[in-house]
């Protein structure tokens, strides 16, 4: 079960709800947060199998969160989502480390694929 827990940090309510529903429909167990701070506070980093992270958040940015995770030694795989079409942001995101980077709007099954790839190696099944 732990393998199917996917954390989603997204401040847009529509996106958050649709991703949550998508994950449920694909038998994942989504845990949703609207800010990076809320995610850190909940300490889900240790329990989630994957993190779907929006880059443009109010408060702490997605990249900042990613750096913190790296600094704390977490090997939680991260899938980035971005609303803006910005090359420099993308570069930074990739440098910070991610398994996938999606520009909104993106096809849902691409996200599912990326999460499966991130989760399966850990699961080992």
């Amino acid at each position: 079960m732990r393998q199917r827990m996917v954390a989603v940090v997204e401040d847009d309510p529509s996106m958050l709800k649709s991703i949550e529903r998508l994950l449920k429909a694909h038998d994942f167990q989504p845990v949703t947060f609207t800010s990076a701070e809320a995610f850190l506070q909940a300490a889900t980093a240790t329990t989630a199998a994957c993190l779907v992270l929006d880059l443009h958040l109010g408060g702490m940015s997605g990249i900042e969160l990613r750096r913190q995770l790296t600094a704390s030694g977490s090997n939680l795989p991260v899938v980035f989502m971005s609303a803006a079409d910005d090359e420099s942001v993308r570069r930074k995101a990739v440098e910070a480390g991610c398994v996938a980077y999606f520009r909104k709007p993106f096809l849902a099954h691409h996200l599912i694929c990326a999460i499966n790839n991130a989760v399966v190696p850990e699961g080992g099944t």
């Binding site: 529509s14 996106m15 709800k17 649709s18 529903r21 609303a83």
Partner: protein, 634 residues
């Protein structure tokens, strides 16, 4: 005298004789000097003017006036003037003459007279007849007499004066000016025997018989005269001498007679007397009374001054002058250039133009100038209203173009925003597909998902609508009441992506007070956006970690709302703090220089103020204020 008694008697006799001789000599000398001085004694300062007729005739009136004026303006003690009219034209007969003489005897018995001036030959004879008894040594000056009378006076002592010569020659010459091919002359006037000054014509007539035929209308009754002058041939002219009594015995004032004749005459009337030109005569070489009176006055003054009359010669007076009625020249088609030099024209009927030439020119110039001024003013007014219309159209265009230019900021923000609902829609659609693949799809849940899709679609269209509204031309300003804080919030959300892209830390400190303003929402957004973009541009050159942009709202006074946008950039050079709001002022290579001027135009149109200053802690701060509205935001 005690010495006298002591002298011996013989010596006494001789002394007495010498004294007696001396006394006689002295007495004789005294006598002779008194005789001499009585001879050198000046004449009494008085002049007696005797007029042959009366003053109702203009001639006599003018003559006596001219004489009086010369006498009154003479230096020395004032000259007394006595005047008497004999009225011999109206009253005739020896009895009347004698009565006049008696009157004079009575009147002037004890009056000292210095000089007598006579007007008319009969007055001259009258004066001469009375002189021995009333004025023995008094000189007589005749104002103007004919040649014959002057000849008679040659032998008379102590008489002098002027001769007035009126010639038929002058009359014919004048007639020829009007009728170049003159063949006939009708003569109208008193019979020549009675006509003192024109008697000389009788001698002149023979000289003209070769060229002219004379029609003698003298001595005819007025009706006949009028009949004849109305039917004269084209080669004729009329010569008017002077008429005092017509053939029927009716008395006339000469000027009335010529007026009557002129009414019916079909040919031009020439004359030798100036006054008749005022009454219908066409002109001529005419004499006037004033110069005659003046000359008589001067002779009188010379005599009063002590000159002997023998030393003042009788001369022919130069009394005539060519004078013409301009209207007659027009009527008889006489060319002005053919007139003798020095001719005077009377009754020149100046056309309105000639008469009022200067005022008319002045008026015309003023009119032209005024018309030009009015036309110029109208043109200027039109130009100005066109310019104003163009200026306001340009302003609107610039404001709109500024919006278009900043729309790129907006569009990146919109792209950012649209990506959310679109992203959600896409995911939801695939989710529905996934759900429907199941053997037993939960249709209630599918319905829910589809509702979400619809809602997100609406959200997307609203975002697009906002972009469209931002870009649309708009008829003008649409005033609404809203909270300035909301505008700040909206712009902050719009520029947030851009700010994060540029690494700018964006802070918004909104006051808790509601800053209710009445304005166009989009224009307010435009102002705040321009200032924020300006601030962000200023931070480009800043160190990435130090890029900070703060928007602050506050209520700065009783009814004033204030927004401040401050950056941590390099600040503004002190000499540019006001010029940055001027159009086209920009330091950026790709800048339009329109953002700040447009912000100023908008703010000032609502009665607000906008200015910039450098912050103590570094960087620039832009402030704008707006009057707050009493109404609540909608």
């Amino acid at each position: 005298m005690s010495g006298w008694r002591e002298l011996p008697s013989a010596r006494r006799d001789i002394a007495a004789a010498i004294c007696f001789q001396l006394a006689t000599i002295i007495w004789l000398c005294a006598i002779s000097t008194s005789v001499n001085s009585s001879v050198a004694e000046p004449l009494p300062r008085s002049v007696l003017l005797i007029d042959q007729e009366n003053q109702s005739r203009v001639w006599n009136f003018d003559l006596s006036n001219a004489l009086r004026s010369v006498l009154s303006s003479a230096p020395g003690s004032p000259i007394l003037v006595y005047a008497d009219n004999l009225d011999f034209a109206r009253f005739t007969g020896l009895r009347y003459e004698e009565a006049q003489r008696n009157l004079f005897r009575e009147k002037y018995r004890d009056i000292p007279i210095g000089v007598i001036v006579v007007n008319g030959a009969r007055a001259l004879d009258f004066a001469l007849s009375l002189r021995p008894e009333l004025w023995p040594a008094v000189p007589i000056v005749f104002a103007a007499v004919d040649d014959e009378t002057a000849e008679r006076m040659r032998s008379v002592p102590n008489v002098t004066g002027h001769i007035m010569r009126l010639t038929l020659k002058d009359m014919v010459a004048a007639a020829r000016l009007f009728v170049p091919d003159l063949k006939r002359m009708a003569i109208v006037g008193d019979r020549f025997e009675r006509n003192t000054f024109f008697r000389s014509f009788l001698q002149e007539f023979p000289r003209f018989t070769a060229e002219l035929e004379f029609i003698d209308l003298t001595g005819l009754p007025m009706d006949d005269i009028k009949r004849r002058v109305a039917a004269l041939p084209d080669d004729a002219a009329i010569g008017y001498t002077t008429l005092t009594v017509d053939g029927a015995g009716v008395d006339y004032l000469p000027r009335e007679a010529v007026a009557e004749v002129a009414k019916v005459a079909n040919r031009p009337i020439v004359t030798n007397t100036e006054n008749f030109i005022n009454y219908g005569a066409a002109g001529g070489f005419v004499v006037s009374a004033s110069p005659i009176g003046e000359q008589a006055g001067r002779y009188a003054l010379r005599l009063l001054g002590g000159e002997a009359s023998a030393s003042i010669p009788v001369v022919v007076g130069d009394f005539s002058k060519p004078i013409f009625d301009w209207r007659a020249l027009e009527r008889w088609r006489v060319d002005e250039s053919g007139l003798p030099p020095g001719s005077e024209l009377r009754f020149r009927s100046l056309s309105t133009w000639e008469q009022y030439r200067l005022p008319m020119i002045g008026g015309l110039v003023a009119l032209v100038f005024q018309s030009a001024l009015i036309t110029w003013l109208l043109i200027e007014r039109r130009r100005r209203s066109l310019a104003e219309a163009e200026a306001s159209s340009r302003r609107r265009q610039a404001v709109r173009l500024n919006r278009v230019a900043t729309a790129t900021v907006l569009s990146s923000s919109i792209a950012h925003e649209l990506s959310q609902p679109l992203g959600a829609i896409l995911i939801n659609t695939e989710t529905v597909q996934q759900m429907l693949r199941s053997a037993t799809p939960d249709l209630a849940e599918v319905d829910e998902v589809l509702s979400d899709i619809v809602r997100d679609d609406q959200r997307a269209s609203e975002i697009l609508h906002r972009q469209r509204t931002w870009l649309k031309k708009g008829k003008g300003t649409e005033l609404q009441v809203f909270d300035l804080n909301d505008s700040v919030r909206e712009i902050v959300s719009v520029v947030a992506p851009e700010a994060s892209k540029r690494g700018v830390l964006l802070n918004a400190n909104r006051t808790s007070d509601v800053l209710s303003v009445r304005a166009d929402r989009i224009q307010m957004q435009q102002v705040i956006l321009n200032l924020v973009m300006n601030g962000m541009d200023a931070l480009e050159s800043c160190h990435p970690a130090a890029r900070k942009l703060t928007i602050q709202t506050s209520q700065s006074a009783a009814a004033i709302g204030k927004v401040t946008i401050s950056d941590s950039g390099a600040g503004i050079p002190a000499d540019q703090l006001t010029s940055i709001f001027d159009a086209f002022f920009t330091t950026k290579p790709e800048g339009t220089g329109l953002g700040l001027p447009i912000a100023r135009t908008i703010i000032e149109s609502y009665g607000g103020a906008i200015w910039a200053e450098n912050r103590v802690e570094g960087g620039a701060a832009f402030h704008f204020t707006l009057p707050l509205s009493n109404a609540h935001p909608g």
